[in-house]
């Protein structure tokens, strides 16, 4: 079942939590709402569930207007960040809750609950209480409970937020897999870009109650629509400077910027990801900046360098593959030259132009 949202606005006092938000989640898709805390992503999810009501705007499930419906009438499965399991009930009764309140007979409840517990790989734990389970297990109980009533869609609020890194990675994979199996429209909220990119079919990036960008993980990562998205979805080096005559000048760095041919000089910002910076022991490319290596961290799939640039008064993050790193034989304290292979320049009031040197 698809979700169509039009012009949602929601205020809490003077705080605008959602500001004219429009978006659409096609049926059967797995969609991530990504944003920093306070970006309105959880509020949006709660408005979809009917736990919060928007001041303006409509929420439609397929063609049905549910804007003023209660959560009960909307039949959505909602998984809370802290699971909200009923502590006085066993795992079985937690999962059965939605069926019990509908007065379904035991002959229907028992097989359904058992089948769901198998699905979330909790078979044999039905007599336990939530307090006797690990965080990951509780998360899966919450999911099974939400699925028991055959919801029209599944909404998850920071589903992996409270778990440790390893369990989190496992559960992500598992959620993806589960979605392939049951194919119910799923929206989950996260502040972790890696999580969003790994799990979702589509990512919606939010900031200050607005949608900044919406698209496939690939699109969002490769073509960020705004400086905010660029900054938010990964480590990035930011250079401030000016543009004029089709060139951006960031200190001694010069980057072509054909989109701004005017003679009038304007402020601009260039964003470069750590893996898009090249280093060498002598000046290279059209322009490069000089810096001193302050930190070397070769542990991991890439060698990470921190290079202090006196000219910009800031430290640059550079990722190098290990071959290049050992070929250069770099150590902390070395002087080194840095130049971007690729940069995105944003001039206020114009869109991003992506472009390679």
């Amino acid at each position: 079942m698809s979700i169509v949202i039009k012009n949602l606005t929601k205020r809490f006092g003077s705080m605008v939590a959602l500001n004219d938000v429009c978006f659409e989640a096609p049926a059967g898709e797995l969609l991530a709402l990504l944003g920093p805390s306070g970006s309105g992503k959880t509020t949006l999810l709660r408005v979809i569930a009917g736990l919060e009501f928007a001041d303006v705007g409509t929420v439609k499930f397929e063609n049905e207007d549910v804007t003023h419906r209660s959560p009960k009438e909307r039949q959505v499965g909602f998984v809370f960040q802290h699971y909200a399991l009923f502590r006085h009930m066993t795992v079985f009764e937690n999962v059965a809750f939605g069926l019990r309140v509908r007065h379904r007979p035991n002959s229907e409840v028992t097989p359904r609950v058992m089948q769901l517990l198998e699905l979330v790989r909790l078979g044999g734990l039905e007599k336990r209480y939530p307090s006797q389970l690990s965080g990951g297990q509780r998360q899966r109980v919450a999911l099974a409970r939400a699925l028991a009533v055959q919801p029209r869609m599944l909404l998850l609020d920071e589903p992996f937020g409270a778990l440790d890194a390893k369990v989190r990675a496992e559960l992500r994979q598992w959620l993806r897999q589960l979605h392939e199996e049951i194919h119910v429209t799923t929206v989950f909220v996260t502040h972790d870009q890696e999580e969003a990119f790994e799990v979702a079919d589509r990512v919606v990036v939010m900031q200050k109650g607005r949608i900044e960008q919406s698209g496939s993980p690939q699109e969002v990562f490769d073509h960020p629509a705004s400086p905010f998205v660029m900054d938010f979805i990964g480590n990035v080096n930011v250079f401030h400077g000016r543009v004029q005559h089709g060139k951006a000048h960031m200190g001694s760095l010069q980057i072509d910027y054909p989109d701004y041919p005017q003679a009038e000089s304007r402020e601009a910002t260039a964003y470069v990801r750590p893996h898009e910076l090249d280093v060498d022991k002598a000046p290279f490319a059209k322009s490069s900046i000089c810096g001193r290596i302050t930190q070397v961290n070769p542990a991991g799939s890439l060698a990470k360098l921190r290079i202090w640039s006196d000219e910009f008064g800031m430290a640059l993050n550079v990722d190098l593959d290990h071959d290049r790193f050992s070929a250069l034989g770099l150590a902390s304290g070395d002087m080194i030259y840095v130049s971007p292979r690729r940069a995105r320049v944003f001039v206020p009031e114009t869109t991003e132009v992506d472009y390679s040197i």
Partner: protein
């Protein structure tokens, strides 16, 4: 080293607590039992189990239980209102809940007897309707409910405040009605607090003296409470008999405590 602890002063604080317990609780209670033991078994039985005493126990326990039941409902309602709603005067109302704690119980007794006596504001209306408000079983229940109410409110309030709104939202998303959410989710969570509140009110009712004697009329076999009977015996200089009755009340209190502990542990076992 295993003897090193994070909190210092364990020997001091522990010995202080033990000495306090000994001086204030154990020695007086033992003295009570000791005094009662000066009676022969037959005398003891006569003192604690003659008809007057049995009636007094009945009045004490039935009134306390009834008051505890009333307070459990009223207290839950009041705590609910104080936690869940915003209204002008809420803080004042919240502090008024503690009034029965602060007020000398004799004052409560006096006010109640004035209101519910034949000529009192309420008594004047209720008595002709056939509701015996003054000097009756009902009057005792009424005044005990007043005295015990804060126990339930103060036991339930923090638990109710601590209940995560998400629990109710989860229930609503799963299709529960408000009533189902209340009975299946909230009430079971509040159950231990309600048991505690009930027990405290009940125990307080058994011990209450000051307010009851003003409203009950203290008629033998009818509205005489066990603590009053102890006083009567003392005035007759029958100290041993008085302590015998006291030891029965003591025994009953211990049984209550044990029962409540058991109930609380049972509910704890299923959660936490």
């Amino acid at each position: 080293m295993s003897s090193k602890r994070v909190l210092p002063g364990l020997p001091f604080s522990l010995s202080f607590s033990l000495i306090y317990l000994l001086l204030m609780v154990i020695i007086p209670l033992t003295a009570c039992l000791f005094a009662a033991s000066s009676l022969t078994p037959a005398q003891f039985l006569k003192a604690v189990w003659d008809e007057r005493a049995r009636c007094a126990y009945w009045v004490t326990f039935s009134c306390s239980a009834a008051a505890a039941v009333v307070d459990t409902f009223l207290g839950l309602l009041l705590a609910w209102v104080l936690v869940r709603y915003e209204f002008p005067g809420k803080r004042l109302m919240d502090s008024l809940v503690d009034l029965p704690f602060a007020m000398p119980t004799a004052v409560a007794g006096l006010v109640y007897s004035a209101l519910y006596s034949q000529n009192g504001w309420f008594g004047r209306v209720l008595l002709p309707l056939g509701i015996p408000t003054a000097n009756s079983w009902l009057a005792i229940v009424l005044v005990l409910s007043f005295i015990g109410l804060p126990f339930v409110v103060r036991a339930v309030q923090p638990v109710l405040e601590g209940i995560d709104a998400e629990l109710e939202e989860a229930a609503a998303c799963l299709g529960a009605t408000r009533w189902q959410t209340f009975t299946k989710v909230l009430l079971p969570t509040l159950y231990p607090a309600l048991v505690t509140g009930f027990a405290l009110t009940f125990a307080r009712g058994i011990g209450e003296y000051g307010s009851v004697i003003f409203v009950s009329g203290n008629r033998q076999f009818q509205t005489e409470i066990a603590p009053f009977l102890i006083v009567v015996r003392l005035e007759e200089f029958a100290y041993a008999e008085a302590t015998a009755i006291a030891s029965v009340l003591l025994f009953a209190s211990f049984c209550m405590l044990g029962l409540i502990n058991f109930m609380e542990r049972k509910t704890m076992g299923s959660g936490h």
